[in-house]
């Protein structure tokens, strides 16, 4: 079934990020697979998401959870076959769910045949597919991203007796985008999946495609040339598909990735995310409003992608040292929680499993301008395991029920790809889909309602935003507008009840209709509009003039 051709569909989407191996194991080998994921599409449809972003599922030695790809045109055997993927794709489309897949442009696994060929000799035709050097002193301006594990961006290859460049793990050599053959081949890879029917790509690590001496080797102009070319070919051959940039940069540095609407359709707003957590802890809207004030206007066809958590650590790269220290102290007081300038915890543990805070943060996610991404498991408040190493603690099996292996797999528990979360607070016996489905007031039920309300209007995805600045700095209030429609969102970031007076005079005469309960609030008059709010409460009001 073909999905309806909705221009700019990604602006209205709610994206669900999932790793196929974490979702559901259909064949009892302890690893989730595409057949299993297909069986859970009804759940996702019921939740109300409209697109799935799949983490890498390609063949890989899995030394970086699949981001080290050894074959771009296949499916890892643990997850199934290409046919299984196609079946899943069709099943998703039947339910009106689009599928966005990961595409790691910047690097491959060192086990990829391309690299094996490249390293085999200095004269190999693929030698120039990677970045080689006799010394490890070039590009000194480039920072090391995986600080906890890598000492250098160069690694010595004993086979070809040269250094190769890698911005991530040393087993992930960077492709050489100065080589036209590389650029052409990566387009062919993308075309392969586009012809199969995927709706878009999340392009991983795009700022690092090129290296130039005397620079920090990030966001170089040449990168945009590549992206423009990819985009041009995409629009020409596969209109309506989407490119999402993973570029952990300041908002001003992200703007070029949208080009003039001729590069990426979407980009993650990385700097906003830690500031949402910071604002909550500080009980002060300042971090949030400041970063959004600094966020430049993007082309009309483009969209920010917002998220609370994902498969990586909660990155603290795009914050000041003072902010980072604060975040570590208040959210990651144990060293084991910290990794690579970030915090490797899930949403619920970060928020002390406080239902009110979880709701508030999801409310912000759904009402701030952009397309929201829900990380799998956060809709039921899954916990994490910081002792699992790297970022695996936030990538544990989905908890479907309180029974055998949390309903994830029929295999022996010892054969699961990862241990389940088992503690009394977040363990699968207490936190699981089946239990929450039965409860009208569970987090899952609330999330479904939240998505329903969000989808009831296009304003959240497409509307403008204007902040109100009430004197009470604990309250974050903004107006979203699209055409004749206006929504007022008011958020109490504080753990205590607050009173706030909002200057709504220009909306005088409108009645406020609270969007969840659809009850009416007093009409806006001459005086400041007084609201009292409970701890961590938020309101979405639709303004109506009758």
């Amino acid at each position: 079934m073909a999905l309806p051709k909705v221009p700019l569909w990604y602006k209205d989407a709610v994206i669900y990020q999932v790793h196929v191996r974490a979702m559901y194991d259909s064949n009892g080998d302890g690893i989730g697979d595409f057949r299993g994921l297909a069986q859970k599409l009804d759940y996702l449809q019921e939740l109300g998401i409209s697109a799935i972003w799949l983490m890498p599922f390609f063949p890989s030695p899995l030394r970086d959870d699949g981001y080290d790809i050894s074959d771009y045109r296949s499916v890892h055997p643990s997850y199934g076959t290409l046919e299984d993927f196609q079946l899943f794709l069709h099943a998703a489309r039947d339910r009106g769910i689009r599928v966005v897949i990961e595409m790691v442009l910047n690097h491959t696994s060192d086990q990829h045949p391309w690299f094996q060929e490249s390293r085999s000799s200095l004269n190999n035709p693929r030698r120039d597919w990677y970045v080689w050097s006799d010394s490890d002193t070039r590009y000194r301006g480039a920072r090391i991203i995986f600080l906890d594990t890598e000492m250098s961006n160069w690694a010595w290859d004993p086979i070809s007796k040269q250094y190769y460049w890698h911005r991530f793990f040393s087993h992930q050599p960077d492709l050489n985008y100065d080589n036209p053959a590389v650029r052409e081949e990566m387009w062919n890879v993308m075309k392969f999946w586009l012809e199969m029917g995927v709706d878009g790509f999340r392009l991983d690590a795009v700022p690092y495609l090129f290296e130039r001496e005397g620079t920090n080797c990030e966001n170089l102009p040449e990168t945009h040339g590549v992206i423009k070319e990819l985009r041009r070919r995409l629009d020409e051959n596969f209109p309506g598909r989407m490119l999402l940039a993973e570029a952990n940069q300041w908002p001003a540095d992200l703007l070029p990735y949208f080009g003039k609407g001729d590069e990426f359709h979407m980009a993650f707003h990385f700097p906003l995310m830690p500031r949402m957590f910071m604002g909550l802890k500080l009980e002060d809207r300042k971090p949030i409003t400041e970063i959004l004030q600094q966020t430049p206007k993007i082309p009309d066809t483009c969209q920010w992608c917002l998220f609370l958590r994902n498969h990586d650590e909660l990155t603290l790269e795009m914050v000041t040292d003072m902010e980072r220290d604060y975040m570590y102290d208040v959210y990651a007081n144990e060293k084991a929680m910290r990794l690579n300038l970030g915090i490797r915890r899930r949403l619920a543990p970060l928020l002390d499993n406080d239902r009110r805070r979880i709701e508030l943060m999801n409310g912000l996610l759904m009402s701030l301008p952009g397309t929201p991404v829900i990380y799998y498991g956060d809709e039921i408040g899954m916990g994490d395991n910081i002792f699992l190493g790297d970022r695996n603690g936030v990538r544990t099996p989905m908890q479907w029920d309180g029974g055998w292996n949390a309903g994830f797999s029929s295999s022996d528990p010892e054969s699961l790809y990862s241990a389940l979360i088992m503690n009394p607070i977040y363990g699968y016996q207490s936190v699981n889909v089946t239990s929450q489905r039965r409860l009208q007031h569970s987090l899952l039920s609330w999330m479904r309602r939240l998505l329903q309300v969000r989808k009831s209007t296009p304003i959240f995805g497409r509307g403008s935003i204007e902040f109100l600045y009430p004197d009470n700095h604990r309250v974050l209030a903004y107006v979203r507008q699209l055409g004749e429609e206006t929504i007022l969102a008011v958020n109490n970031l504080s753990a205590s009840a607050q009173a706030v007076e909002l200057d709504l005079q220009r909306f005088k005469g409108n009645i406020l209709v609270e969007m969840f309960g659809r009850n009416i609030f007093p009409r806006i008059g001459e005086l400041p509009y007084l609201l009292t709010m409970g701890p961590y409460q938020f309101y979405w009001f639709r303004l109506r003039r009758i």
Binding site: M278, L282, E283, D284, R285, K286, P287, T289, E290, Q293, T320, M322, E323, Y326, F467, Y469, P470, D471, N472, H473, R474, S494, S496, Q498, A499, E501
Partner: protein
């Protein structure tokens, strides 16, 4: 405004916006535009340097300035609308200002500051003289640190004074206080001081506010209250006591502001005094820093 309510509606509205704080700094002003800008900037710098993560606010109780004093105080706020480009702050810093009336009264201003500190549940409150020309950022740490971090209840200043400066304080207040209360408080009438929430909550409903003593010399009453009630007192060396040129007050007024509150406090603390003489206790308040006198 409700009767018998020292907090005006305007101030109350501003306090609601500020919300609960960890630290409050109070200023009493009346036409201090020449000095208040610098004083508030230094206070702000000190708060952001020594208490960068704490919830802090500056409250100006103004006696009806017509020279733009209140606006200068408000301009020092750091919010998401009013950013400070020279340094970064984690939090909003409210600098609020409200006029309490047109009859300038030290006591009224102090009472408002104490009441605000109590309402906002500030753990530590400092009061700074608006004409302090020698103020430094580290005064915030010296005054507020002992209260906020080390559980002191009252921090009195110690100044390096000129030989003939503050005659009433050095030659009358100080020795009488030492003799009667048994503690060596160098500045019983402090221009800058700090107090804890414990002491502050006692002050809000204190009878001194309805007396001349409290209206004219609240600092003296406060110091003696802290002494009499056995609060933990610390002294902080603040360096030279400079202040901008102001006409010298007349002797009668000066006596009413110093000696009057001293004797009033003595009279209400008769029971404590009696116990002191009976027990012959002698102790001295610990000095946070060494001090000297020129």
């Amino acid at each position: 405004m409700a009767e018998d309510n020292i907090l005006s509606d305007d101030l109350l509205r501003q306090l609601i916006s500020v919300g609960e704080v960890d630290i409050l700094v109070g200023l009493h002003t009346h036409n201090h535009a020449k000095t208040i800008g610098h004083v508030v900037q230094v206070i702000r710098e000190g708060l952001l340097k020594y208490f960068p993560r704490e919830r802090v606010a500056v409250l100006n109780a103004d006696g009806g300035s017509v020279d733009g004093t209140r606006e200068l105080v408000r301009a020092a706020s750091i919010t998401d609308l009013r950013r400070e480009n020279s340094f970064y702050t984690l939090r909003t810093l409210h600098c609020i200002s409200s006029q309490y009336g047109t009859n300038v009264s030290n006591g009224t201003a102090m009472h408002i500051i104490a009441a605000a500190a109590d309402l906002l549940r500030a753990r530590a409150c400092a009061v700074i003289a608006p004409e302090s020309s020698e103020i430094r950022p580290d005064w915030m740490d010296q005054l507020l640190g002992p209260v906020y971090r080390d559980n002191a209840d009252f921090v009195a200043p110690v100044y390096r004074r000129q030989r003939f400066e503050g005659i009433l304080v050095t030659n009358l207040l100080y020795p009488v206080t030492r003799a009667l209360y048994g503690k060596s408080i160098r500045e019983p009438r402090p221009g800058e001081f700090a107090f804890s929430d414990l002491l502050g909550s006692r002050l809000v409903g204190h009878p001194m506010w309805s007396q001349d003593a409290g209206r004219l010399g609240p600092e003296v009453c406060l110091t003696l209250e802290a002494l009499a009630e056995g609060h933990r007192i610390v002294q902080a060396f603040l360096g030279p006591k400079g202040q901008a040129e102001r006409p010298a007050p007349d002797l009668v007024a000066a006596l009413r502001q110093t000696v009057g509150p001293l004797f009033w406090s003595m009279s209400v603390q008769m029971a404590w005094q009696t116990s002191i003489w009976r027990g012959c206790t002698r102790c001295s308040a610990p000095a946070r820093k060494t001090w000297s006198r020129c």
